[in-house]
């Protein structure tokens, strides 16, 4: 634009005003908008498809809201037992969150405030378990559940997720950032470990705990493979597997995408609500919140 080299000053000024009107980092804004659209596209498509009939879905160019309105949602909730699945998912997630946070808090307390033999090795071992997530252990884990007689129960759904190296790690790092003089003051006032945990550590770690709760909740809500393996009784099943049951209701060889997408949108809502309500502590946990 501003390539004028002659002495006439007017075009130079004009080109300046044009470039001034454009945002400084136009390219960056375009890039951001494109990536937002790319990331939101699957979700937007799912919402659109959840309102369409099966045949409407198969018309690839039909990207408007369909004729079904909210009736796909109604069908999914009433005819395909989604209320049961949602309840199961909810109970499972809550148990995992409470169990995981409780155990991890105690583990971090022990690691940070007690003198344990081979403390570092113990911590390293805990971190090493990150290399063996549930999908890797799925066969022996299933055998174990079968031996224990836990299959088709809530115990089988939640048990394998209660211990968490990530949560222990996050709590440990957080506890280590609390000045040792606070612990020492407590010791001098004769405050026991339990009082210290509940009256000092937990209130001081509220943000971190909330953050871990959010990720744990979303993580457990989204579990698919393990519930699929551990539970074969439909009444004990969770919502993520429930969505796959919708596929089985295919008629005339056509996958009922409208129903599936409605199910997916329903399954999406609870973690979304949690995320919206608790996004502040979550961002703080990972220190990306702007001060």
């Amino acid at each position: 634009m501003a390539t004028t080299t002659d002495t006439d000053s007017t075009p130079v000024d004009e080109s300046r005003t044009i470039s001034q009107r454009l945002p400084d980092n136009l390219g960056m804004h375009v890039g951001i908008i494109l990536s937002v659209v790319a990331m939101a596209a699957p979700l937007l498509l799912a919402i659109v498809m959840s309102t369409q009939t099966t045949s409407e879905v198969y018309e690839v160019t039909n990207l408007g809201l369909g004729s079904q309105g909210l009736s796909n949602y109604q069908t999914v909730l009433s005819e395909y037992r989604f209320t049961t699945y949602l309840l199961n998912s909810f109970v499972m997630s809550i148990i995992i969150v409470v169990g995981k946070v409780g155990i991890s808090l105690l583990a971090a307390l022990a690691l940070v405030y007690y003198e344990l033999p081979y403390e570092r090795a113990v911590f390293m071992f805990i971190l090493l378990t990150l290399l063996l997530p549930v999908p890797v252990r799925i066969v022996p884990l299933f055998q174990l559940m079968a031996d224990l007689g836990w299959t088709n129960t809530m115990l089988a759904l939640t048990g394998p997720y209660i211990a968490s190296a990530t949560a222990v790690f996050l709590f440990r790092q957080h506890f280590m950032s609390i000045p040792s003089s606070l612990v020492e003051t407590a010791r001098m006032s004769g405050i026991g470990p339990a009082t210290f945990l509940f009256k000092v550590l937990i209130p001081m770690s509220k943000g971190m705990i909330a953050g871990v709760c959010v990720i744990t909740y979303i993580y457990s809500w989204n579990q698919f493979l393990w519930p699929l393996v551990a539970v074969n009784d439909k009444s004990s099943q969770v919502v993520q597997v429930g969505i796959s049951y919708l596929q089985g209701s295919a008629q005339a060889g056509l996958t009922p995408w409208g129903l599936i997408m409605a199910g997916a949108c329903i399954a999406l809502l609870p973690p979304l609500i949690v995320l919206i309500v608790l996004h502040r502590p979550l961002l703080q946990t990972f220190a990306v919140q702007r001060k």
Partner: protein, 379 residues
């Protein structure tokens, strides 16, 4: 009130001996200050008294009872930390009350009353409902003191409590701590690296270096009769001038010879030892005066001024004396300029001689009063 006795107290960390056998006693109601450079073991010593660090060897007695293995809460001690250690999620009042139940058998009403009284004493009554982050540094400090005094402990331990305050507030809190100490009448052990704080606060001051006790004495005695070169140079601002001299006997008296001067020393103990070995002589900057301010018969010598630092209440001159640089304090409005040669002399009552190798004081030109001195010889 309580008496604290440390006998041959040692602290060994993995491969470091942090505290090397300290013998020290704080009397009932005494304000004892531990001072020394960082890493000298003063905080470790305090933490051993508090029970926060295990004692490797030696004994710690509080009121004649050995408390080496008594847990901190049963030692009847309150400690204040440099960062105040206030719980950020509790209000000032909650901070002061927290833990009161477990160290005492007060009822809730009594605790409330005590907190109110302490707040009254410290002038923080209207801050009790605020959280630490809503308080200024000085106010946090008061809350932390309040938390310590509601317990009415036998012993107060303070670990560099004024370090986080600005200079003006520090002077103010210093006076307040003294007033409080008098009011409460408990024994206080105070750790600091700041020699001014040590001098102004302590009934007695214990100087530590490299894990060893150098000297314990009342502040003025510490200043006038340092037990060794370390204490001499650590206490006092600017530091004492120390330079090597040769001490020779001449006509039954002793004379200190230096490249820049030769002066006779008043008779006193230790000079015969000093004349046999290599020694250093110490003179404080204020004990060097211009010849015009000295009696006519005083021995004087010439030095060349190199730097002039006006400090307001006095003028500090850096002067070249032979190969050594010395500091001289003169009247603030003197017209002496760098490069000028001036005639100066020592106050002969304030000369010190130290063994060059061990640093031990061999001679003070005025003998200390024998009763108060509790000098500890270093190895």
């Amino acid at each position: 009130m309580a008496r604290i006795q440390l006998t041959d107290l040692e602290k060994q960390y993995d491969d470091v001996l942090a505290v090397k056998g300290i013998d020290l006693e704080a009397q009932d109601g005494e304000f004892l200050v531990l001072v020394g450079p960082s890493g000298c073991g003063k905080s470790t010593t305090l933490r051993m008294i508090a029970g926060l660090e295990d004692i490797t060897s030696g004994t710690l007695r509080i009121d004649d009872e050995v408390v080496n293995d008594v847990p901190p809460k049963d030692r009847d001690i309150a400690m204040m930390f440099q960062n105040y250690a206030l719980y950020p999620h509790m209000t000032a009042a909650e901070n002061m009350k927290f833990g009161m139940k477990s160290v005492s058998d007060f009822s809730s009403d009594e605790i409330d009353q005590r907190v109110e009284e302490a707040a009254e004493t410290l002038d923080i009554a209207d801050l009790l409902d605020r959280k630490p982050k809503e308080l200024s540094g000085g106010e946090r400090q008061r809350v932390a003191i309040g938390r310590a005094i509601v317990r009415e402990p036998e012993v107060f331990l303070l670990d560099e409590p004024l370090s986080n305050l600005d200079a003006k507030l520090r002077v103010q809190m210093r006076a307040e701590l003294l007033r409080l100490h008098e009011e409460l009448d408990s024994s206080t052990v105070y750790v600091t690296h700041d020699q001014t704080e040590a001098m102004t606060l302590g009934d007695r001051v214990a100087v530590l270096d490299a894990g060893e006790l150098q000297q314990v004495a009342p502040p003025q005695e510490l200043y006038d009769f340092p037990a060794n070169r370390f204490v001499a140079e650590f206490i006092g601002e600017p530091a004492m001038n120390v330079f090597s001299v040769d001490i020779r006997e001449r006509n039954g008296h002793y004379v200190a010879d230096h490249a820049g001067f030769s002066i006779s020393l008043p008779d006193g103990e230790g000079l015969d030892t000093a004349s046999d070995s290599s020694v250093s002589m110490g003179v404080r900057p204020e004990d060097i005066s211009l010849a015009s301010n000295l009696p006519d018969d005083a021995e004087t010598f010439a030095v060349e001024t190199t730097v002039r630092e006006p400090l307001g209440e006095l003028l500090l001159l850096h002067c070249q004396l032979g190969d050594d640089e010395i500091h001289v304090k003169v009247e603030p409005r003197s017209e002496i300029q760098p490069g000028e040669t001036i005639e100066v002399g020592f106050d002969e009552d304030r000369l010190h001689v130290f063994d060059a190798r061990s640093g031990d004081a061999l001679y003070h030109s005025t003998a200390p009063e024998p009763t108060k001195s509790e000098a500890v010889a270093t190895e």
